[in-house]
Amino acid sequence: AQSVSQHNHHVILSEAASLELGCNYSYGGTVNLFWYVQYPGQHLQLLLKYFSGDPLVKGIKGFEAEFIKSKFSFNLRKPSVQWSDTAEYFCAVTGGYSGGGADGLTFGKGTHLIIQP
């Protein structure tokens, strides 16, 4: 079975600090990778995604992630965080289930990010 590992469960940073959240996955084949964000009281939103091509992908709100195939990693980065980035962040990868082309996503356990003013 596929698995996703997020290195940090809780991260506390000050505003303007740089952010890097680690994500590693176990599947060795072709993957689709995602980062989702969940702001307090809101639904999960897509932050960015990687399907193919340039391994450095840019998402919304100044976030970016780099796919490193040799390391099975897809780390999320932001050069300067803001208080409004306080949220739960989830890394996800295609689940690899068979049947009709539908694939459920396999999620990591999440990283709770707190930005202090």
Partner: protein, 113 residues
Amino acid sequence: DVKVTQSSRYLVKRTGEKVFLECVQDMDHENMFWYRQDPGLGLRLIYFSYDVKMKEKGDIPEGYSVSREKKERFSLILESASTNQTSMYLCASNPGGRVTEAFFGQGTRLTVV
């Protein structure tokens, strides 16, 4: 914008009750999913459906069933609710074909007492 709507934001049910969680999407998506979200465990896939009347078990299907009678609607059923099913339940959909991102509803926080 894609809209995935879950019928309830909060539910409180008694142990042993039969519980229905409803989800509707308005973008004619092929695939629909039910996840549960628990602190420290992330999101875990319960069931998914790639077509009307079709369903597949996810990682944690025990104690749950699903129904998809219409393309836009996907229901999660707890046949006999138990306290360990207290959780946040998230419905999602995607268009189908090649894997694309999933679009999520607001979630239903279910408490079983």
